[in-house]
């Protein structure tokens, strides 16, 4: 028996509303030798999580493992009774979930939860388990390994939580670790740290692992073997390099082909009339104090312009204020200082003072497609509302327009009668976009419109946006943390860090240095689709994002100060950085000059991978 894990003909079914059963995993077989990592890849909804969970003998509510066999070591998982399963889970096989934030019980300390597996299974005394946990914390490069266990989940950052979950999974020295999209919810800078930690632990402990992801570039860093899934069926299985370099199945090929976004043509000329102008904007959340400032200040002194028919990309890590910016423009968050001009006219910050026409002309496509569609309404009703509300279109005509809208976003017309809960994440995101399009706006604020889409569908949506811009002169604010996409579709780019615009310029400007040190970190953190990329990264990229509530640097100073690899002691921590205008109109908020920056930048002008195409396009 060479393989530690042996899966044969696994199939999982789900009960539908009418009592029948639909297969969501069909006849999947694979085996993993001891000490190896198998990656499961495929589009969203292809059954990756389902397979991963079945390795623990677990099926989510409504699902049932209908056939096949799973052997882990000596254990036939599917033959176990309840007691056997209790003994298996967390002891022999452990699980690391997609969202650590959701998988930690908010009411219990981290240590309680990390050692719980050991306590339940009696593999160690509590004291021994705690000692071991501290060891694991250190191995996972967590700060303050001794003290972190006493904290509650909300007191550590997302990336740290994800590593803490790895500790939780490893505490019982399981034979198999199942990692389900452990970094999808993280932004690129954090993702690197987590990937590094995982890789180190997996390597040091010689753990056998199943790694689930839809991100090919990530998989390339982690896996020895790749299993490609779509629609619950196995498409292909092979060694990582084989799959990435020599995909045989058509589906794998299309996945790889779409992995690097095709650049779209530029929008209107850059000197086109400004549609939206933001001047000296300060905004935030919470009660407004006596000085007119909100309790938590999220955006600080932002200047931006979006010309008619052009696209502004806004990038920045999670929490940098991208969504807040869009909300200010949409009127959902009032501006504390500064102004927002639409066609030269100030936009009322208060929703009730805006006219219906102003509402119509600015549409926002919300980030969380899961929560912005009313679960009680059908898709048709959701799309019909803006048609009726803005254009008075009802009945037959509305139905026709709804069908067209769905078609525009590449959704089947049959979807119209469904409720949002019956759609996949990617479908919801497109309905969300279609709703904004229904208003026939002049400006669309797109907040992460492609994040839940697999590469193929994502590309189609980007095409649609480019077409709108080209043919109807629609302007876009394109918010994303996916730099390659931004580079592909945006005319202008602004980089936010902690509410400050630290870097901005034309599309070409973010292809080559000089960058603001943060932009540099961000750009160089985007994983590349080749194995070994992670190992080749310089160590200084591992500068931690501060934990939530760690406190910002004193106001006025550079917000990136704590993490900046090139900060100048005595200057950066004393004086506010100047706003530098570099040649070509690029703006940077930094004490360093362009030349200084260019010299120390990680990202080189002739960077590998997808960026090369940008350059050729630009030249």
């Amino acid at each position: 028996m060479s393989a530690l894990v042996e899966v044969q003909g696994l199939s999982v079914v789900v009960r539908n509303a009418d009592g029948g059963e639909t297969a969501i995993v069909k006849d999947v077989s694979f085996s993993i030798p001891k000490g190896r990592v198998l990656a499961l890849i495929g589009e969203s909804g292809s059954g990756k999580t389902t397979i991963a969970l079945s390795l623990l003998g677990y099926a989510r509510r409504g699902c049932r493992i209908a056939g096949g066999s799973i052997r882990i070591g000596e254990t036939q998982v599917l033959d176990l009774d309840d007691e056997g399963l209790y003994a298996l889970r967390g002891a022999k096989v452990s699980y690391i979930a997609q969202s650590a934030a959701a998988a930690f019980n908010p009411m219990k300390t981290i240590m309680d939860q990390v050692v719980e597996g050991a306590v339940i299974h009696g593999t160690a005394t509590r004291a021994a388990a705690e000692a071991k946990a501290v060891e694991l914390f250190a191995a996972l490069a967590l700060p303050d390994p001794k003290g972190i266990g006493a904290r509650y989940p909300h007191q550590v950052s997302g990336g740290q939580l994800q590593r803490l979950m790895a500790a939780m999974a490893l505490i019982t020295d399981p034979e198999l670790v199942v990692l389900d999209e452990p970094t999808t919810a993280l932004d690129v800078t954090t993702q690197i740290e987590v990937l590094r930690a995982f890789k180190k632990v997996v390597r040091e402990r010689g753990a056998t692992a199943v790694y689930v992801s839809h991100d090919l570039a990530v998989v390339a860093q982690m896996a020895d073997q790749i299993l490609v899934l779509s629609d619950g069926e196995m498409r292909e299985i092979g060694a990582t390099d084989d799959i990435l370099v020599r995909p045989r199945h058509a589906y794998t090929q299309s996945l790889l082909a779409a992995a690097a976004p095709q650049p779209r043509g530029e929008g209107a000329a850059k000197d086109a009339a400004a549609l939206l102008e933001i001047r000296g904007l300060v905004a935030g959340y919470g009660r407004v104090g006596a000085d007119g400032m909100p309790a938590t200040r999220v955006l600080d002194d932002i200047d931006l312009t979006i010309a008619r028919g052009r696209t502004l990309g806004v990038i920045g890590e999670s929490g940098s204020g991208k969504t807040t910016l869009a909300r200010v423009v949409a009127g959902l968050v009032p501006a504390a200082r500064g102004s927002v001009l639409f066609e030269g006219q100030p936009l009322p910050t208060n929703l009730t003072e805006r006219t219906r026409e102003q509402f119509r002309r600015i549409q926002i496509v919300f980030q969380n497609a899961d929560t912005v569609l009313n679960p009680a309404h059908s898709i048709a009703r959701i799309l019909a509302r803006p048609l009726a509300f803005y254009h008075g279109v009802r009945g037959e005509e509305a139905a026709k327009r709804i069908a067209r809208l769905l078609d525009l976003v590449k959704l089947p017309a049959t979807l119209a009668t469904r409720k949002p809960a019956e759609l996949s994440g990617g479908q919801k995101q497109r309905v969300n976009l279609a709703r904004a399009l229904a208003a026939e706006p002049d400006l669309i604020l797109c907040d992460e419109v492609t994040s839940a889409l697999d590469t193929v569908v994502g590309a189609a949506v980007l095409d649609l946006l480019a077409e709108l811009r080209r043919e109807l002169g629609v302007s876009l604010m394109f918010i994303s943390h996916d730099i390659s996409t931004v580079r592909a579709v945006c005319d202008d780019v602004a980089v936010l860090y902690s509410g400050c615009k630290v870097d901005s310029g034309r599309r070409k400007d973010i292809a080559a240095p000089p960058f603001h040190p943060y932009a540099d970190l961000l750009i160089s953190s985007v994983p590349e689709l080749r194995s070994g990329w992670l190992d080749g990264l310089p160590a200084r990229l591992a500068v931690e994002a501060p934990a939530p509530g760690a406190g910002k640097p004193p106001p006025g100073l550079c917000t990136f100060l704590d993490r900046c690899p090139v900060r100048i002691a005595g200057l950066c921590d004393q004086v506010a950085p100047p706003r530098r205008i570099l040649e070509g109109g690029k703006e940077i908020l930094c004490h360093h000059t362009g030349a200084e920056l260019e010299a120390v930048q990680v990202t080189k002008a002739s960077g590998p991978g997808s960026r090369r195409r940008d350059e050729t396009e630009r030249i």
Binding site: R89, A102, A103, N105, M107, R287
Partner: protein, 336 residues
């Protein structure tokens, strides 16, 4: 389910940034809005008693009233003054801690209440001490075995409990335990309670009856709150760590459901002061609820006012405590 969760969300307040979220602020804020509520209650009660036909003088004299004696009594009670003057006078007294003089008993309201309030509180406390654990157990068991036979049986049992009129439960209990079996006294005057055994004998039946009334709602809310948590992903995580159902429910889901459960408990318990007239009547228990009903019958304004304010205060206090429990149990809110 959402209902249970919703009850837990502490209200939003208009708070200066520095103070925001501190528990002291929450309490201060609640006390302020509670004071407002109490003023509203007192005004509404005052107006309503004005609408009630007859007044204290008429009720006191009943069949034998004559215009002369009525006028004399009215003057004695101060009912000859216009209502707003009376209200202001009453309010003034209240501010100095004086709840006024009961018309009918011609004693200070505080004195009458002092005799009853501890009894009411005791009955409520004993009932709470019995019913809350039972309700929580039922709720948690139902949630753990949701959709199974045990859940259905408990659901049916709790529903049947509320569906039987209170007076019937009480009367049957007396019939069985006091008259037939002679185990317990039929009355619960609670005047000569000195030994623990007497205490149990006195309180057994009133508490049993009240449990019938309050358990169902608490159990159903608890079940909903726990089920709500059982679908959370950290519960799935606990299952995947190999935790057994009992551990999952008690160690993982329950702590997270404390907020909504505390609120459900508070709502149910608030009933135990003012809503127990029938139990007090049938068991002859000298509590506040019957005092208030008497006062309404006798149009004993100062007394009605005082009782209503006490009930309102108790209600607000319970809700506040529930919110505090929710906050203190939640590290997110505790460690801001």
């Amino acid at each position: 389910m959402a209902e249970a969760r919703a009850l837990a969300s502490p209200r939003r307040f208009a708070v200066p940034a520095r103070w925001r979220g501190t528990i002291a602020w929450l309490v201060a804020n609640r006390l302020a809005s509670g004071a407002l509520t109490l003023v509203i209650v007192s005004m509404v009660i005052f107006v309503i008693t004005g609408w009630l036909p007859g007044d204290a003088a008429q009720e006191a004299l009943g069949q034998s009233a004559t215009p002369e004696t009525i006028a004399a009594l009215r003057a004695q009670y101060g009912l000859d003054k216009p209502p707003h003057i009376r209200y202001l006078h009453w309010l003034q007294g209240l501010l100095t801690g004086n709840l006024g003089q009961s018309f009918t008993a011609n004693l200070p309201v505080t004195e009458l209440i002092a005799g009853r309030l501890p009894k009411s509180l005791l009955l409520a406390a004993v009932t709470a001490a019995v019913s809350v654990p039972i309700a929580l157990t039922i709720g948690i068991l139902s949630a753990m075995w949701r959709g199974r036979a045990l859940d259905r049986a408990l659901n049916l049992a709790t529903l049947s409990m509320v569906a039987v009129p209170e007076f019937l439960v009480a009367t049957i209990a007396v019939l069985v335990f006091a008259v037939k079996l002679q185990w317990l006294p039929a009355l619960s005057n609670a005047v000569d309670v000195s030994t623990p055994a007497q205490f149990v004998r006195t309180y057994a039946m009133p508490v049993l009856t009240l449990c019938f009334v309050v358990i169902a709602q608490m159990a159903r809310m608890t079940r909903a709150a726990v089920i709500d948590q059982l679908s959370a992903s950290y519960v799935e995580m606990a299952v995947l760590k190999g935790a057994r159902p009992a551990r999952v429910a008690l160690r993982h889901a329950l702590p997270n459901a404390i907020g909504p459960i505390a609120n459900a408990v508070a709502l149910s318990l608030s009933y135990l002061l003012g809503g127990v007239v029938i139990v007090e009547t049938i068991f002859n228990y000298p509590g506040l609820a019957s005092l208030m009903v008497d006062a309404v019958t006798n149009r004993d304004m100062p007394m009605v006012q005082a009782c209503a304010m006490i009930f309102c205060f108790a209600y607000l206090l319970l809700v506040l405590i529930a919110d505090l429990v929710a906050i203190l149990s939640n590290p997110r809110l505790r460690h801001r």
